[in-house]
Symmetry: D2
Subunit: 464 residues, 4 copies
Amino acid sequence: MSESMRECCGLFGVYDADSAIEKTYIGLMSLQHRGEESAGVACTDGRRMDGHVGMGLVPDVFNQNTVDRFKPFRSAIGHVRYSTLGSSTIKNAQPLLINLRGKPIAVALNGQITNAATLRKEYEDKGSIFTTSTDTEVILHVLADPRHASLQDAFEHSLCHLEGSFCLLFLTPKEMIAVRDPHGFKPLCLGQQGNTWAVSSESCAFDHAGFRFTREVEPGEIVKINRFGLDARRFAPKECPRSHCIFELIYFARDDSYIFGRSVYSYRKALGRALALESGVEAEMVMSVPSGGDSAALGYHEESGIPLEHGFVRNRYIGRTFIRPADLERAKLADLKLNAVSDVIKGKRVVVVDDSIVRGTTSRSRIGLIKQAGAKEVHVRITCPPLKHTCHYGIDMQQDEDLIAAQYDPRQIERFLAVDSLHYLEFDSMLDCLGDARNDFCVACFKGNYPVKLRDKVCKEQLG
Amino acid sequence: MSESMRECCGLFGVYDADSAIEKTYIGLMSLQHRGEESAGVACTDGRRMDGHVGMGLVPDVFNQNTVDRFKPFRSAIGHVRYSTLGSSTIKNAQPLLINLRGKPIAVALNGQITNAATLRKEYEDKGSIFTTSTDTEVILHVLADPRHASLQDAFEHSLCHLEGSFCLLFLTPKEMIAVRDPHGFKPLCLGQQGNTWAVSSESCAFDHAGFRFTREVEPGEIVKINRFGLDARRFAPKECPRSHCIFELIYFARDDSYIFGRSVYSYRKALGRALALESGVEAEMVMSVPSGGDSAALGYHEESGIPLEHGFVRNRYIGRTFIRPADLERAKLADLKLNAVSDVIKGKRVVVVDDSIVRGTTSRSRIGLIKQAGAKEVHVRITCPPLKHTCHYGIDMQQDEDLIAAQYDPRQIERFLAVDSLHYLEFDSMLDCLGDARNDFCVACFKGNYPVKLRDKVCKEQLG
Amino acid sequence: MSESMRECCGLFGVYDADSAIEKTYIGLMSLQHRGEESAGVACTDGRRMDGHVGMGLVPDVFNQNTVDRFKPFRSAIGHVRYSTLGSSTIKNAQPLLINLRGKPIAVALNGQITNAATLRKEYEDKGSIFTTSTDTEVILHVLADPRHASLQDAFEHSLCHLEGSFCLLFLTPKEMIAVRDPHGFKPLCLGQQGNTWAVSSESCAFDHAGFRFTREVEPGEIVKINRFGLDARRFAPKECPRSHCIFELIYFARDDSYIFGRSVYSYRKALGRALALESGVEAEMVMSVPSGGDSAALGYHEESGIPLEHGFVRNRYIGRTFIRPADLERAKLADLKLNAVSDVIKGKRVVVVDDSIVRGTTSRSRIGLIKQAGAKEVHVRITCPPLKHTCHYGIDMQQDEDLIAAQYDPRQIERFLAVDSLHYLEFDSMLDCLGDARNDFCVACFKGNYPVKLRDKVCKEQLG
Amino acid sequence: MSESMRECCGLFGVYDADSAIEKTYIGLMSLQHRGEESAGVACTDGRRMDGHVGMGLVPDVFNQNTVDRFKPFRSAIGHVRYSTLGSSTIKNAQPLLINLRGKPIAVALNGQITNAATLRKEYEDKGSIFTTSTDTEVILHVLADPRHASLQDAFEHSLCHLEGSFCLLFLTPKEMIAVRDPHGFKPLCLGQQGNTWAVSSESCAFDHAGFRFTREVEPGEIVKINRFGLDARRFAPKECPRSHCIFELIYFARDDSYIFGRSVYSYRKALGRALALESGVEAEMVMSVPSGGDSAALGYHEESGIPLEHGFVRNRYIGRTFIRPADLERAKLADLKLNAVSDVIKGKRVVVVDDSIVRGTTSRSRIGLIKQAGAKEVHVRITCPPLKHTCHYGIDMQQDEDLIAAQYDPRQIERFLAVDSLHYLEFDSMLDCLGDARNDFCVACFKGNYPVKLRDKVCKEQLG
């Protein structure tokens, strides 16, 4: 229905801190863009654990009662979620809080386990039962496997059985544990405030919650935080090839985050500059489709010298989650989000910078507003190559057949959008902006080269 | 508690149209910034009238049931509201739908009647009773006065008894009537789609609802729309001095609106340019406090040549109406709205453009973020002169004593904000940007020269 | 849709008492059967007044916040309501709290003003406006009439202008005033706890709220309660004929109330005894349709000696206000309220006692349950004569044409119900049970002899 | 807080029927007294399964959306629940819907597994994880045990591992399975409508949902219902001693149910008759504490010839689940439920029949009302012996120390209640009313002789 792609989850945790629940609330609010469907926390006071999950946005799930109930607890992990797999029900909301080997443990996942079905079948055959349809429950069964003498052992030996992308955050009465898969698909970072540690999917949450960004959790690393401090180990070799999700940088992460070793804002500006160099066009103004194209439009303006204008005004009351009466005509309500300022657009040749074209219908509708506002010419510039292949590592994207670029070439899409020109950033330009790290990213959504086989091999070696 | 000023109301109406309730819904959504406290509509099918009001934002008040219930109606007026006077209760929500001389009539007001108390006393002495504390009910009593032989007469003779600012929208089964006070304090404009007419506080609502902006309702004009078309008359002489609210242009109206004969976006860019000319400073970047300072920052950047950066990232999930658990520390949650991008700010001399400083505390907190992000110098530029006097014409501002500029001079405020420099736009520069219309605006909030006496005189002449 | 008759309102007030809001809450809970549609209170602390109304049952309308907000107030009046006239909206909920002659006053009504339309027209012609469609607002306009020099005067002279049935409860910062119409259509009584006075539609509310029943407010009496105590006067002559609503005794009031000078429970038992004497039949058991027929069935059992059985079991989770998913078949859900105990009914000749047959469909459905449970014979006994004429004095009854007894004679209804015999109590027997007061009751719903003319005359004399 | 005992669960299921969800809804509404805390259903259309659970009463959990969503399904099982063990959260609501051996299965339980902790530990050691704290999840782990070659095998061999009381209802896409423990603690019965079968905890639900009571599920029986019809087998020997819960007959079940081979209504009348014979007293009236004592009071009246009166009037708006503002004084609100009719009680010697005294405070408060109403003497008669021992088989009773009869003898309780006499029915009289079945009942709450050992033995034999 909507044509946007959706990140599947965000994680935030804090260990042994004053106002732990408040910090977690603030952290989750800052990661809300990573999951709008459900939210939850699990807390501990060092002995007992308690938790709360609910459907909806963070403020829908956490009311005064919840905050009061969890106030005494000094450690907490939180989660925001979309459903990529499994139905969208309260049962699947996270963190999951269960008893493992007789002791309580909570866990939250950002990612997608590609061999979850195999593992699930294997454990069901052994007599295990599954009460949710989440990958997270599969991970718990792996950890509960009696082949491992202890939970400690389980952590050291079982993570290699998991294939795919996974950032995990565990909480027990005695420690908080952060895990990142060997390829580093998803971002995960560590923050510090005095002696207190926090973990977050994106660094922007630290700024709000009062932590200082320290470093990223390394791919293949397991970081335990307890009263003795921070203990970091590897469960996969350092030389394992990296596959950071390039779409986090282009599309998902917030402009003010620092992930995969770089500033999101700066990378996006660099993409805009590269677009200007690569596909110059005579125009009187450049504008962005807010808010995805904002930083890149600034880069384009700087490189090209074409004046920047705020051609779209955003209705700040309409979030992604705006619930409308069903009968109101949908097209008109989509328009409610943005309005084109005709006073500035009229009679001009306009460069429009955006971060993606997914199914194409929303783009067409928005560009229609610019033309109605009187633009003489419209030139669309996209900050990445055509998006042709769906993601299997945790992004809730359309099926291949729904991606317009999987079906049509750029010239056809140009005609579909009815614009004067359309240019996608060249694949190599996108990588060039990454500098030395150009080979450390998963680009499967552009090329179809899923980094799966490689990972399988790594894990088998580890397992042995 | 909050330091923002608040517009008190927004009006939208449509006469004899398909999907009248949907168009009104869309119109009100586009005017939501003019009133977040309650919303309502009154509708007619040409014979009977019905209405619905509720507390909260437009989507809170209008659910599927409401839309279904009003679908058959072809005419509707709607209202969004803050309470400036009277308590904030459902009873005071508008439109008011009553029986006047045995016939149903609905009315909605944007403005403030400065002699409402006097009129109320006068009518109570005659035996009238008041069930709300709104100015709107006072207006209805004036219209119901049996001295007027008919409602027609009442409209022609009674409006002059009203002092202050008022845009009124009436609906009866047979017509929709728009009225604007003789001084034109508040904006009100007409839109057209084929033979169908609409009325709106701001033109941006027409873009969304599918109407073309036609013209503004003139100050002192009464516009009746019925099945014979549009009939416009004057109830006050054309030469009556104008007192457009300059704060609508600077602060309240949406960037994409056209009011008081000019584009809001362009005026704000002009203010930014004027600021750059008037208070140049050496700096590496200019940024805005979103979203109020966005257009002006662009103007500043153009005039000064200093690079523009999006120094603040906005959390798009936090609206003005974000309801937080009471115990979460307030300061931290204010921060949740905006985060400074340290990657771009660090080590730079920064010019920050904003549209106002009201009480000063929010400004200080936001500028604090910029400094925490590593700015070397911070230079604040405000797009208007110091705000010293409260408004009596419909804006819910702080009391005089709460306005920081009423108590302190700019140098003191500069120290309070702890910035390297602070500059307010000169009063004359602000007017210069208005061109020939420089004398048609109410500037009482800057100068204290309330245009009250003048209006009284006009009305008395009329009354005779 | 439902075939029940509905009382239109209940009143409860308390003056200068600890926990006034709590006592009022308890009072309204005890009067809930008199109005399930909206509820409200108005309170005063001796200086200012405040109020709250809402749609729904008392516990829906009064939550913790409301109770907390009104805790400091020592005087309160409350109201529960059905809409007989006017639409069912929050605007019409009571008490109405307004400014009258510059002073706040709250008022609540139980009854129906039969000349409300005339009065309304008269005041609209004088320039008054009406914001609700309630009779209560009409009463306020009568009181506000500037012909009366003071509110005191107004009370003394204006009540005679009101025709129909009315119990009124007023609250001002200084006093609580109870008024009952000259005919005494509706019940209203006074309770005492030490020096504290309370007013209630029915005495049962006093038992729960901690008051002792003192006496009824007399027809034509106005009772003022203030810091000097209780002051009672007449505004209509004592000899004015009485017209107590006999249906209050038969149907509406609670069994545990004492109204119109008698115990409701005892009167109902007497009706059951009269039925047994008048229409004896051989049977193995007598049972009631709960809860309306309970007391009368007991009387029938005592008089006839036929064993009493609880033939129906009630599902205590299904109130009158049970909201069901629309698609669940309605017939089946009606059945959910009552289930017949086949173990006791099977093979028996059964006398069924009920208090009324309105449209006939619910009676038929319930008697169907008894037959399905295996009754050999079913003999229906109704505790009043056939109900043929609708009420104009405040009961929300069906239109004449919807009353089955207005269309069919008892033999036809007997066939419609498919029972072995049906008997309505004789008109004279019903009156005989009233003893000396047999002529003091309104029996218009049985006979059509509305006591209107008589009342008009009285009032005119008064007015002179 | 409340002194009532609470049944823990109710079950209702229907296989291959039109309007299955509606019938289940009606069934659960009729069983609402067995669990007010949460409700749920699981449905199947023969291929896929879906479910919904929620906190609250049945109408709170099932709104129109739920009914619409499940309309296409022709088989459903439903559950209402109190929490006896485990916390009261949505996670523990039933039916549980999981994947077992790769196939979906739903299960709901009424009862309490006395060896749940042991089994849980055993399975956790094998690597199983538990996501709820319910006995029901333990049962699923037993069924999932890989020692059983198939689910069929599991059903036949694993049920004997379960100790305690259990009625189970399973649903798979292909069949509905009903199981009752070998001792028959809890009631469970079969109903039929043409070829369609239903299962219910109590027969009253069949009357409402349109089924005819056929027979009870036998203790130790497993009944499978699928497209081939009904297949009943035993998993425990028929001669296993029975332990029907006598408190179901005395207290929990609805008067209109037929369970444990007898009519609840008739048994209760017989208890009342026995009381009259055993503890005659001179009195002018007998009355019940509604609704628990209603049937027994009737029996007492018949046997003694003392006139029956409805001495208490019930406020029908106050259910067990009435949620009150916290500050309203609790004592007064308890009174709101019942009011004593002083007109009938005053000056009389009164026999009061009730079904139990748990903690004693509610009884004292209610009897206080009778005395305030003017009773000359009050004689309390209880339809069972003193309640001294808590239940371990599924009733949420007070701890032993909270049961007044565990601490005090009847004479002391008589003084605590301040009544003229108190008599508990003799233990043997209670059993005499059961006739030949007098030894088939669990009377542990009176005698402390928990029938646990016996059951252990049976199960072990079975297991072998």
